[in-house]
């Protein structure tokens, strides 16, 4: 029985049209908006963006958080995925608990950590009982940039490690146990088995997880605003300010294009560095 050759096209048409109108068109519009100023093609929006007082801070802050958080997330998630393999009872419950942050928004995560790190919060209570501080102490202000950075990295670590974990854990399931067992027979220690056998086989999953996580990390926005407010500008919060407070859509679009360029750059680096050698393709 053969059905019309048109059927698949009819099936993908609604999604294609929808994404064309609400994804491709806005994408082109943003790029056009960013490269236009005063009605002609120009880099005016970008020079205005780069000349802004917050620009350097926004770039440094964003990169600091991404470069600290993403590697830590990868390491933590790898450890968790490996542990998950050896959990005998209640594996489902452990996986569920570990993946709860997957459903928590960046805004809610920021508020959760604000409850812990605020002046009269739970961290200060702990430090007080340990005798480290005499009373409520502020960690999230302009005067404590290092503490603020650490707070944001911890909040990101808490919220977004889960997504890396789930991708890696799904990848680990696809790795046959026989390889590691064979390595064990030949006398490899568990660390050697991890480095030489499991890690290379996980490379595609690691690549996927890193691309997804890094793109999302460059988009960080609400967590930073809840914890740092205006004291910790990042690229997305600047885009938001230019759009919403200053009503300057051109500079906001320039920031959006910058975020896109940085994300694409990171993706290309991962695709190159972590590509699976042709010899290892299945």
């Amino acid at each position: 029985m053969r059905r019309g050759a048109l059927t698949p096209y009819l099936l993908i048409a609604p999604a294609t049209i929808f994404l064309g109108v609400l994804f491709l068109v806005p994408l082109v519009q943003t790029v056009a908006l960013a490269f236009h100023a005063d009605g002609s093609l120009s880099l005016g929006n970008f020079t205005r963006m780069a000349g802004d007082i917050n620009f350097n801070d926004a770039i440094t802050d964003t990169f600091e958080v991404v470069l600290l958080a993403v590697p830590l997330q990868l390491a933590l998630a790898l450890g968790m995925a490996m542990m998950l393999r050896h959990v005998r009872r209640g594996r489902d419950i452990v996986l569920w608990i570990w993946s709860i942050p997957l459903g928590i928004s960046d805004l809610a995560a920021g508020l959760v950590w604000l409850a812990i790190l605020t002046d009269r919060g739970y961290l200060n209570t702990l430090l007080f009982h340990l005798g480290v501080i005499p009373g409520p102490e502020s960690w999230l202000t302009y005067e404590t940039p290092v503490a603020l950075l650490i707070a944001i990295v911890i909040a990101e670590l808490w919220r977004a490690t889960a997504i890396v974990l789930v991708i890696l854990a799904a990848g680990v399931q696809l790795v046959p146990k026989e390889y590691a067992e064979a390595a064990e027979v030949f006398g490899a220690s568990s660390w050697q088995r991890f480095i030489r056998v499991t890690l290379p086989l996980l490379r595609p999953s690691i690549q996927t997880a890193l691309i997804l996580r890094t793109v999302l990390a460059f988009e960080m926005f609400a967590t930073v605003l809840t914890l740092g407010g205006r004291n910790f500008p990042v690229m997305m919060s600047e885009a938001f300010n230019w759009q919403y407070s200053q009503q300057n859509y051109g500079v906001a679009a320039a920031y959006a294009v910058l975020v896109m360029a940085v994300s694409l750059g990171a993706t290309l680096i991962y695709l190159r560095v972590l590509r699976t050698p042709a010899a290892q393709l299945p």
Partner: protein, 267 residues
């Protein structure tokens, strides 16, 4: 039990506490209200817990409506992304056609772009269409974010259902659409509802686009972000807790599908 095993279990337990304790602490802050939030030093168990701080939060003018707008936008996102995404997923799973790879790539591409690049011009476009500052506009924008997942997840779901079952239904006289409705859809439904729940959560949690696309009819995330600077902490914590509540429930509901949601959508 060996010492090694004991240390291992302790590690697993520590990571569980690391995940759960912060949620417990914001729940304390949300149920305890102002007295608990301002208490110093804090205790791990607050004596005066009640629902009244949360009720008080929901009674602030605008809050209840913003919850409603969030639900509206999330439901629209769920319906649109599944209704448009699932057929496309079916096409990818069952047909070999020219442009299939290109379409798959196009869908994946939408996920690689930051939300800012879409939300900013949509604000302008929506004003023209009368969709600006409405949960419908926000829901449509969020559908773009949820669509890749809907397409790729349903493609993998349909792929897992043997083609033979569908062919057998044809042999017994079912038409193409009828065979799909009677045989394939019931088998795919659990997975598709997981994808739908996931689309709901994506919309419920999204902050940036919702904030840019609304002024007065703000969704809950946009509302909380807007009042961040001026509202007292216990209000913010109550809002944060209400944001978390459905997410935790939803992750519980889709826990069996987590791997297929992410493991395959990631490829």
């Amino acid at each position: 039990m060996t010492i090694r095993r004991g240390m291992f279990m302790a590690g697993v337990a520590t990571l569980c506490v690391w995940t759960l304790l912060p949620i417990y602490l914001i729940a304390m802050s949300a149920f305890g209200g102002e007295p608990v939030v301002n208490a110093w030093p804090k205790s791990l168990w607050a004596a005066s817990l009640s629902f009244s701080p949360l009720q008080a939060f929901l009674h602030i003018s605008g809050v209840w409506l913003s919850v409603l707008y969030s639900v509206e936008a999330a439901c629209l996102c769920m319906v649109v992304s599944i209704l448009l995404g699932a057929p496309a997923g079916y096409a990818l799973a069952r047909y070999r056609f020219r442009g299939a790879t290109l379409f798959r790539l196009f869908v994946l591409l939408t996920r690689a772009f930051p939300v800012a690049i879409l939300a900013l011009p949509l604000a302008v476009g929506f004003i023209r269409l009368g969709l600006y500052d409405s949960p419908i506009g926000v829901g449509l924008m969020h559908s773009v974010l949820a669509m890749p997942f809907a397409v790729l997840i349903s493609a993998s779901l349909f792929q897992a259902i043997p083609r033979e079952l569908e062919e057998a239904a044809w042999v017994f006289g079912c038409s193409g659409p009828k065979a799909f409705l009677r045989v394939v859809l019931p088998l795919a439904l659990p997975g598709i509802s997981a994808a739908a729940i996931f689309a709901f959560v994506i919309s419920w949690n999204e902050v940036f686009a919702a904030s840019v696309l609304t002024v007065r009819h703000k969704t809950l995330t946009a509302y909380l972000l807007a009042v961040l600077a001026e509202s007292p902490l216990h209000i913010q914590f109550a809002g944060g807790f209400i944001l978390i509540l459905p997410s935790v429930l939803f992750i519980f509901l889709v826990r069996k599908h987590l791997f297929s949601l992410w493991g395959i959508a990631g490829r």
